[in-house]
Amino acid sequence: MSIAPQLLRGPSLMAEILLSEAEKAFIHHGDDLRCDGRTRLDYRPIILETGLVSNASGSSRLRLANSDVLVGVKVELASPLSEKPLEGRLEFFVDCSANATPEFEGRGGEDLANEICRFLQMSYMSGDTINLSELSVLAGQQCWVLYVDILILECGGNLYDTVSLAVKSALYTTQIPSIKVATMDGDQPELELSEDPYDTKRLNTQNVPCLVTLMKIGNHYLVDPTPEEECCSSSGVVVAVSGSKKITAVRKIGSGSLHPESLVSMLKTASEVGAVVNKILMKKLLEEETAGKTQKVGFMR
């Protein structure tokens, strides 16, 4: 009876994943072949659709095998932070609802949600990834705030990667309305919203990072772990890789430890994998955009 390390700190009602000794042995010692036929560096199939939520400024739904995530971005006007008067900002909020998995019941998902939020914030912070000064409307007074709300509909392992891909796609489609400072009435500026609802701009998301989780199992490590694999592993790393193949944030997850050498090799692999994932995601997003209006599939399907 083992429990996925990411969920270890949840309260009681753990949905235990039952694994037989033989299954564990296979996961630990199997060759470059996993239970579902993948090699160690393969992802599971991903389904992605954007623009599903009509009330959001940008949205996406991403399903990676059994992990299902819906992301909505709302843009709002606010005054900038006093320490950063020339920048707008991104606010992440992850909702681990109890619907996704019983571990999230009560306050169970809170820690995990907090961790994901904070890590996203961390990986988006460096100047390389997203240009926050584009979000400034009136220096020191008004700026755009992008509220990125992440709803976890189903939890089937590898949440970090799933969430990050969905967030990137949602930000890609986010439309920020054009706004002009019309007149300065004394101290009070008057903001004028463009009358044309299609007069919008989009963020440059080329360099926005994707997260890659590598789990260390036995003497190997693998990407996109299933819940069964997660509970056979005691440690791993989450690496944020930007579109330009650079690493923008790393942290170790799980309660185990790693040898420096294997850690370094994991980081190298993660940056390779991340670059490929980024490239494919951007390609698919562009494909969807150019395909024009097609029948929406919708979420929870």
Binding site: E87, D111, M122, G127, S242, K245, S257, L263, A270
Partner: protein, 288 residues
């Protein structure tokens, strides 16, 4: 953000006067890495506090400073000062939290006056995440199976933050745990390094630490590592900022080398603690 109504809150619009400080030539926004490097280090490769890039700040360690705690430690790393108290192992109070292995409970707290900006009394998001990182790091080092169904509390209070608080907290917490006679596989030594485009600064101060800023044209980052020297294992790894994997490898090397140097110091401190403990026990026995 929920606020504690029993505490006196400042007006909502209050902000630190330091923000009004005049900055030369819109400095911060337009700082390029080259200028930044010049600001932190002079032409002779000496840092502002007279250290070489690969020098750490002087370290001061002491155990047994909280009489009520099972074990405690105090660390001073330059101006970064923090205390750690370890309580337990004690029975897990909530039945729902039952687990067969022992559990660690970590609380990381900055004193309200410890940073340049005032911090709230309640744990904020950053502190929660730091608590989690600390717990994950220590869980790898503590023999949890030695105290089943019980929990050990590790409380960190940062009194003064002058950079690399997590690194200092890791060293301090493992020392406090050891002085509380909690079985561990190895001591955890924390260390941090700041990366500038062509330069690595070990054990950065607050001014040297990486801050998220725009217009950084090249690689800039901060790395904190918890290392178990005798086991050669990394139990904490937090990296923020932009780097290539090759650079990370180099940063890791510098950090682990430093940890190997610190290990005997921590061991010495622990040895003195044990000697003192034995001596006082001897006195007690004599008195009887």
């Amino acid at each position: 953000m929920p606020v504690d109504s029993r505490r006196l809150q400042g007006p909502e619009s209050a902000f630190s006067y330091t923000l009004l400080e005049k900055k030369d030539a819109n400095a911060e926004e337009s700082i390029l890495s080259a200028d930044l490097q010049k600001m932190l280090i002079d032409s002779n490769h000496v840092r502002k506090d007279k250290r070489k890039p690969t020098d750490a700040r002087p370290l001061f360690l002491r155990t047994g400073i909280i009489s009520q705690a099972k074990g405690s430690a105090y660390i001073e790393q330059g101006n970064t000062k923090l205390v750690c108290g370890v309580y337990g192992p004690r029975e897990v109070q909530k039945k729902s939290d039952f687990r067969l292995n022992g559990q660690l409970f970590c609380e990381f707290k900055f004193a309200p006056f410890s940073c340049q900006k005032r911090r709230s009394h309640q744990q904020d998001n950053e502190e929660l995440v730091l608590s989690g990182l600390l717990r994950e790091a220590l869980e790898a080092a503590v023999c949890l199976h030695h105290f089943p169904k019980a929990q050990v509390e590790v409380n960190i209070m940062v009194i003064e933050n002058d950079g690399s608080p997590l690194a200092a907290a890791l060293t301090c917490a493992s020392l406090a745990l050891a002085s509380a006679s909690i079985p561990m596989y190895d001591l955890v030594i924390g260390a941090a390094v700041r990366q500038l485009p062509k330069l690595l600064l070990l054990d950065p101060t607050k001014d040297e630490e990486w801050q998220p800023k725009l217009n950084h044209d090249e690689n800039n980052s901060n790395l904190t590592v918890g290392f178990m020297p005798s086991m050669q294992q990394i139990c904490a790894y937090v990296h923020e900022g932009v780097s290539n994997p090759e650079e990370l490898e180099q940063m890791l090397k510098i950090v682990t080398e430093y940890c190997l140097k610190v290990q005997p110091v921590v061991q010495l401190c622990l040895k003195e603690t044990v000697e003192k403990m034995l001596a006082s026990e001897g006195e007690n026995n004599d008195a009887e």
